[in-house]
Amino acid sequence: MEHALSLFMRSIFADNMIFAYFLGMCSYLAVSKNVKTSAGLGVAVTFVLIVTLPVNYLLQTKVLDPLNLGYLSFILFIAVIAAIVQLVEMIVEKFSPSLYASLGIFLPLIAVNCAIMGGSLFMQQRIGLPDADPKAITGLFDAFVYALGSGIGWFMAIVCLAGIREKMEYNDVPKPLQGLGITFITVGLMALAFMCFSGLNI
C-alpha cells in the first residue's frame, strides 16, 4: 500500500508527464486556451490512461512476455489505444455533445497523444525494475495507480497552463513572441517550479 501511495504521488509531481517527460505536448499547447475545454481534455486523457494502461499491462505480462513477442509491443499497444479512444469518443458524443463539440479534432487525436502511449511504454520499462524501487510497477493495481497519477498530473498541468494563458491575454507581449513562443517560455517556468518536487519521497 505504501508503495502504491509513493508511486501515485511520484507520478503526479516528480514524474509529471508534461514537466518531466514532455509527453502529450501537442494537444497540451493547442487546447490550453481556456480552462473549461482544457479540463475536458484533461479528464478524457486521464480516463483513456486508466483504461489502456492496465489492459496493456496484462497484455505485456500475460501474453507478450511468456511468448517472447516483446517486439510486437508497439503495434499491439497502439491498436489497443486506438480502439479504446474510439470507444471514448462515442461515449462522449452520446452523453455530452457540448464537450464533444469543444474538444473537436482533439478527441480522436488522443489516440496519438504521446502521454497515452508514453504511459504504456514507461509501464513496460518499469515492470523489470526491482520491487524495492519506488518506480517499479509490480502488479495490476500498481499499473492502475500509475495511470491515475499520470492522468491527474497531466490534468493539473493543462488546467494550470490554461489559467495562466487566460490571464496573459491582457499582457503586452513582444509581437514575434506572441502565441506560441510565450507559451513555451511559460511552460518552461512552470517546469522549473515543478522541479522542486523532484526529491519527493514518501
Binding site: F19, A20, Y21, F22, L23, G24, M25, C26, L29, A30, Y71, L72, F74, I75, I78, A79, A82, P108, L109, A111, V112, N113, C114, I116, M117, G118, L121, F122, Q125, P174, K175, P176, L177, L180, G181, I182, T183, F184, I185, V187, G188, L189, A191, L192, M195
Partner: protein, 206 residues
C-alpha cells in the same frame, strides 16, 4: 533539376513551414532527446527515415484505404516501421537506443508522422510524398540539432562527447550551466528559437 513545386515540397519544411516551430508538430520528443547532440542526431535521422518511408507506403495504398479506418491503417504502418528502426538501433547502437528509451517508441505517436500522412500522403503521389517526408524530417532534425548544440555546449561544455570549452576556462572560474541540462530549459530554448524564427521571417515578409 527539380521543378518549382517539388523544390517547395522538399525545402519548404526546412524553414518557412518548419514542422516544429511553425506547424507545432512533434514537440514532445524534440524537447526530451536534446540534452546531448548524439541522441538528437540519431533521433532526427530515425524520424526522417520513418516519415519518408511511411509517406511512400501510405501514398502507395492511399486509394485502397477506406476513409473510416484510415487512422488505424496509418498507425499500423508507422508502428511497423518504428519497430524495425528500433530493432536495428538496438542491434547496432545499443547505448543510443537506451538513451532514447521510450522516445524511440513514441515516434509512433509523433504528430509529424500523423500530420504529414493525413495532410499530404493521403492525397499525393508517392514521389512527392517521399520528398515531403524527407523535408519534414530534416526540418525536425534541424531544430533538434540547434537545441541540442546549445544545451550540450553550455550544459556540459562538450559536443558529441568531445570537450569543446578548454580547461583554461574552467581554471579561470568558468562553470558549466547545470540549468541547461534540466527539462525546463528545453522548453525555454524552443520558445527562443520560435521567437528568433518569427522575427526573421516577419522581416523577410515585409
Amino acid at each position: 533539376m527539380l521543378s518549382q513545386k517539388t523544390k517547395d515540397t522538399l525545402l519548404g519544411p526546412l524553414n518557412a513551414n518548419n514542422p516544429v516551430v511553425v506547424q507545432i508538430l512533434g514537440i514532445c520528443s524534440a524537447l526530451a532527446v536534446t540534452v546531448q547532440l548524439k541522441p538528437a542526431l540519431v533521433m532526427g535521422i530515425a524520424v526522417t527515415i520513418i516519415v519518408a518511408m511511411a509517406n511512400v507506403i501510405v501514398s502507395l495504398i492511399r486509394n485502397t484505404i477506406p476513409m473510416r479506418v484510415r487512422i488505424i491503417v496509418q498507425l499500423v504502418v508507422v508502428a511497423a516501421l518504428v519497430t524495425l528502426v528500433s530493432e536495428v538501433l538496438k542491434a547496432f547502437a545499443y547505448d543510443v537506443a537506451m538513451q532514447l528509451s521510450v522516445y524511440l517508441g513514441l515516434i509512433i505517436t509523433n504528430c509529424i508522422l500523423m500530420g504529414r500522412l493525413e495532410a499530404f500522403a493521403m492525397t499525393n503521389k508517392p514521389w512527392d510524398s517521399f520528398l515531403d517526408g524527407l523535408g519534414n524530417g530534416l526540418g525536425y532534425a534541424i531544430i533538434l540539432v540547434i537545441v541540442a548544440v546549445v544545451r550540450e555546449l553550455l550544459g556540459s561544455g562538450q559536443l558529441l562527447g568531445f570537450q569543446i570549452i578548454p580547461q583554461s576556462f574552467y581554471n579561470a572560474g568558468y562553470e558549466n550551466n547545470g540549468m541547461m541540462l534540466m527539462p525546463a530549459m528545453a522548453l525555454i530554448l524552443v520558445g527562443c528559437v520560435i521567437w528568433v524564427h518569427r522575427s526573421i521571417n516577419d522581416k523577410e515578409g515585409k
